[in-house]
């Protein structure tokens, strides 16, 4: 076991539930490196939703709460409000965050509460066996869209930004170094920070949407489907079409909720 794993994993909670080839392990690894570099172990409070992705924090040996499906964010708000010096990080899935938990997601962004929300976008409901998510591409076949998905997906980053998030980034499981940097930025950002990570889910999305279980190929395809701002600047429009923008997508400053609540405690009117 490597040094970071030894230092941060909750040994008694192992083995992990993730399928072979799943992207969640890469993301968790990047997160632990970010935490290690920031040296904030004791301030961390982790919150997991329900779904494969919601299990990620369960394996980390810090104070962790594994909540209900869709409800990680309000639990995180309660944790943050009771001790604003906590670094509260939410691990959530695409269904968890913007399907069943969508209302909490947009309102936490609106409040600009200082949370880091890491959303694993595998474009499917992984844990329950491959049903359509609000991120499933139009036309894609899943266990609940056998004739092709008749709906269009959300762009979670646009949603976050529109709702008021003050840090928004999107990367993929194929960008571990960029993820470490983004996690560090997000954790240090004093406001609602949202990071979407596009991951390969060979067992569910691979099988049902793509028609193959090959994880490296899946990840390579994800990498081919995305484009950074720098790459986009030099790309002809026909090549750019249909690609998903990755990188830091939005960053702004706005008063943060728990700071404002603290001002109320000091008797200042808002």
């Amino acid at each position: 076991m490597n040094e970071i794993a030894e230092k941060y994993l909750r040994q008694e909670a192992l083995p992990m539930i993730f399928c072979p080839g799943c992207g969640d392990g890469t993301v968790l690894g990047a997160f632990l490196r970010a935490v290690d570099e920031l040296k904030i172990g004791d301030q961390l409070a982790l919150v997991g939703g329900i779904g494969c992705s919601g299990w990620m924090p369960v394996y980390v040996n810090v104070d962790t709460i594994h909540t209900l499906h869709g409800r990680a964010i309000p639990v995180a708000v309660g944790l943050k409000a009771t001790r604003p010096d906590r670094k509260v990080v939410v691990f959530t899935g695409d269904g968890d965050a913007i399907g069943i938990g969508g209302n909490h997601f947009i309102h936490a962004a609106r409040r600009n509460v200082d949370l880091t929300v890491i959303m694993i976008n595998n474009a499917i409901y992984g844990m329950t066996g491959g049903q359509a998510a609000p991120t499933t591409p139009s036309g894609a076949t899943t266990q609940t869209t056998p004739y092709g998905n008749p709906e269009d997906p959300f762009d979670a980053c646009k949603l976050a930004e529109a709702a008021g998030a003050t840090y928004v980034a999107r990367w993929t499981a194929g960008h571990p170094r960029q993820l470490i940097k983004a996690f560090k930025e997000a954790i240090q950002h004093p406001g609602f920070a949202f990071i979407e990570v596009m991951t390969q889910c060979p067992v569910q999305a691979g099988r049902y949407i793509k028609g193959g279980l090959d994880a490296p190929e899946f990840l390579a395809d994800i990498r081919k489907s995305v484009v950074t701002e720098a790459q986009a600047a030099t790309m002809p429009p026909e090549e750019l079409a249909g690609r998903t923008r990755i990188g830091l997508l939005h960053r702004s400053e706005r008063p943060e909720l728990t700071q404002r609540l603290a001002a109320l405690n000091r008797g200042e009117k808002r």
Partner: protein, 384 residues
């Protein structure tokens, strides 16, 4: 204010609940407006910030109960309040709090249902929802105030019980209690159970004592490295849902820690029961006309009495059974289709006749109506 710090005010039951909560140490409230509970959120929003607490108006009641759960693990005594529709939305969260043994208080100012039902009118229809509203087997504690004074006293008690038993505790108030303005004595030497941090040495967060209870309540970021898990878990908090024995043991304990400690929780008022032939078993706002009826019947020479329940869950079955062994008839007035009467009947076990006096629509029973039932029972003779 008197010398011992008591003060007397004329306030609504809803306001009294807020004052009781704050006196009990509540420092976090999350809620969403709904009649007839909104005054609780409104007053919390004024009262909490100056005492260092946090008020949050959430996006819905699901968020509210979950924020309360987060706040409780965050180290604060925490509370939410709502009514019918909002309480329905909270049920998954209440079950989560029961599973994870998260102390919290849920105030339900009951109104008429189902659905949007009767927003401004009282009921006692949600008593079984409190006990069985979420999926799975778990127990909660439910206190039922009959007056503004009790809204104060029992809210304090609700917080104390939540801490002692590490369960969600309901205050089942109702529109009448919540909105009636009356005299409330507050402050003074009240009993408040402070949160105690468990020892860290070798700490296993879900290792219970012989009474089934977890010692103290830890908080996040205090060095425990907690894992709070909504799936069935072992004493360390590690998921054990696929272990039938550990799962059974956990669910058994979650229920037993309330059931087997019922004597520590039961809270009843006995009025003229020593020689009562007819006893009214009552709770909440319907106890008000019931007690008046008993008094009036007594004045007419009838051996009537009342058993008023301040805690309905766990149901005080021993107390009711004992009463059924002495009184000939038990009358159960309630503002619903006839619900708690089922528990009374079960506990009476055929040793007393049990008469249901249900009332739908939201109008409180009149004292005459209850007295009429008492008189009928006396006349009927009902030989045992």
């Amino acid at each position: 204010m008197s010398e011992d710090g008591r003060k007397v005010r004329i306030i609504q039951g809803n306001e009294a609940s807020v004052e009781g909560a704050i006196a009990a140490g509540c420092r976090f409230f999350a809620g969403y407006p709904i009649t007839p509970a909104s005054e609780i959120a409104e007053l919390m929003s004024r009262r909490l910030p100056p005492v260092g607490g946090t008020f949050l108006q959430m996006e819905d009641e699901i968020a509210s109960i979950n924020a309360v759960i987060g706040a409780s693990w965050g180290g604060a005594k925490a509370c939410t309040a709502s009514s019918g529709p909002g309480i329905s939305l909270m049920q998954e969260g209440v079950g989560y709090a029961a599973e994870t043994e998260t102390p919290c208080v849920v105030i339900n100012v009951m109104r008429g249902g189902p659905a949007t039902g009767q927003p401004t009118i009282s009921s006692q229809q949600d008593i079984y929802q409190a006990r069985y509203g979420g999926h799975g087997d778990y127990e909660i504690i439910a206190l039922v105030p009959s007056s503004a004074q009790e809204a104060y006293d029992l809210t304090i008690k609700a917080f104390n019980l939540a801490e002692e038993f590490r369960v969600p505790v309901y205050l089942l108030s109702d529109e009448i209690v919540g909105h009636t303005r009356e005299r409330v004595v507050m402050g003074g030497p009240i009993e408040v159970r402070e949160r105690v941090a468990p020892p860290k040495e070798g700490y296993r967060p879900y290792a219970a004592g012989p009474d089934g209870l977890l010692p103290g309540m830890p908080a996040f970021n205090d060095g425990y490295r907690l894992l709070v898990e909504g799936q069935h878990h072992d004493e360390r908090g590690i998921r054990a849902g696929d272990d039938v024995n550990k799962s059974a043991a956990l669910v058994q304990r979650l229920n037993d820690k309330v059931r087997k400690n019922i004597d520590r929780i039961t809270d009843v008022e006995r009025v003229d029961l020593d020689d009562a032939e007819v006893a009214v078993v009552c709770f909440g706002s319907t106890a008000r006309p019931a007690l008046e009826a008993v008094q009036s019947a007594r004045e007419k020479g009838v051996k009537a009495g009342a058993l008023r329940l301040r805690v309905i869950w766990p149901f005080p079955e021993k107390v009711v059974a004992e009463l059924a062994g002495r009184a000939r008839t038990l009358i159960v007035p309630e503002m619903n289709i006839g619900k708690l009467v089922l528990e009374v009947r079960r506990s009476a076990g055929g040793r007393a006749e049990v008469i249901s006096l249900p009332r739908l629509g939201g109008a409180l029973h009149t004292p005459e109506e209850v007295e009429g039932a008492i008189m009928d029972a006396v006349k009927g003779g009902n030989a045992r």
